[in-house]
């Protein structure tokens, strides 16, 4: 289960809306599995169907997390024309076994889908999301 504050959820959704129709992506860093620090990342692909963190930005952010004793608790990205479910590409590149993979869909202008998954060794497991005030 992912427990996440409504404030962080709103930030992820706002980022996804702002970058639509391109996919948006980023990280929520934290400790002991608690998502705390919102880090929007640049989608180096600037694409409506693909995302990739910029390699230098990722290096800086990962080093910073290391220094602060944090981990990537949430890795999020948006789907802009399809449902908030991991694609085959999402599964093949999933490389943080400890992370909650959050998917947001912005295909509907008025409604947002916000879902979370574990992706381990090619297997997708959806998990409950608890929104904290």
């Amino acid at each position: 289960m992912l427990s996440i504050s409504q404030e962080l959820v709103d930030k992820i959704v706002a980022h996804a809306r702002a970058d639509h129709p391109d996919e948006a992506c980023g990280v929520i860093a934290g400790r002991d599995g608690v998502p705390e620090r919102f880090i929007p990342m640049e989608n180096a692909e600037r694409s409506p169907t693909f995302y990739r963190f910029d390699s230098m930005e990722q290096f800086k952010v990962w080093r910073e997390m290391d220094e602060r004793d944090e981990e990537p608790v949430v890795i999020y990205h948006s789907h802009t024309a399809t449902e908030a479910y991991p694609s085959r590409t999402d599964v093949s590149y999933a490389s943080e076994p400890g992370a909650h993979y959050v998917l947001v869909s912005t295909r509907d202008e008025n409604e947002v889908e916000f879902r979370s998954y574990r992706i381990l060794e090619g297997a997708i497991t959806e998990e409950e999301v608890r929104f904290l005030p």
């Binding site: 992506c25 990280v27 990342m41 692909e45 169907t49 693909f50 995302y51 990739r52 963190f53 390699s55 230098m56 990722q58 290096f59 990962w62 080093r63 890795i75 990205h77 991991p86 694609s87 085959r88 590409t89 999402d90 590149y93 999933a94 490389s95 943080e96 076994p97 400890g98």
Partner: protein
């Protein structure tokens, strides 16, 4: 002295859980071969058909080796090599 190689979580099963290991070599390619002899299987996760895998980022100190010289990048004692799987998807 040796070269410190920082290992990402997903590859630590090759290093008995170690976050960083030491290796030797004059180029990144030699370093990876040296790494492979101590941690069999790891090379295949980094290199494919003679080039770095597309979705694996390797940094020499603070630079992405793609902008330096790929596998031919010279390395020397005291350097730090960091491996990070690219965060990507569709």
């Amino acid at each position: 002295m040796a070269i410190e190689v920082r290992i990402p979580t997903i590859l630590r099963n090759y290093t008995d859980g170690a976050k960083a290991v030491n290796a030797e070599g004059a180029t990144l390619e030699e370093l990876i071969s040296n790494l492979e002899s101590a941690h069999p299987g790891i090379k295949d996760r980094l290199v494919d058909q003679g080039a770095l895998r597309r979705f694996v980022n390797v940094y020499l100190n603070d630079e992405d080796v793609r902008f330096l010289g790929g596998l031919g990048t010279p390395v020397s004692d005291g350097d730090t090599v960091t491996v990070l799987p690219a965060v990507a998807g569709g």
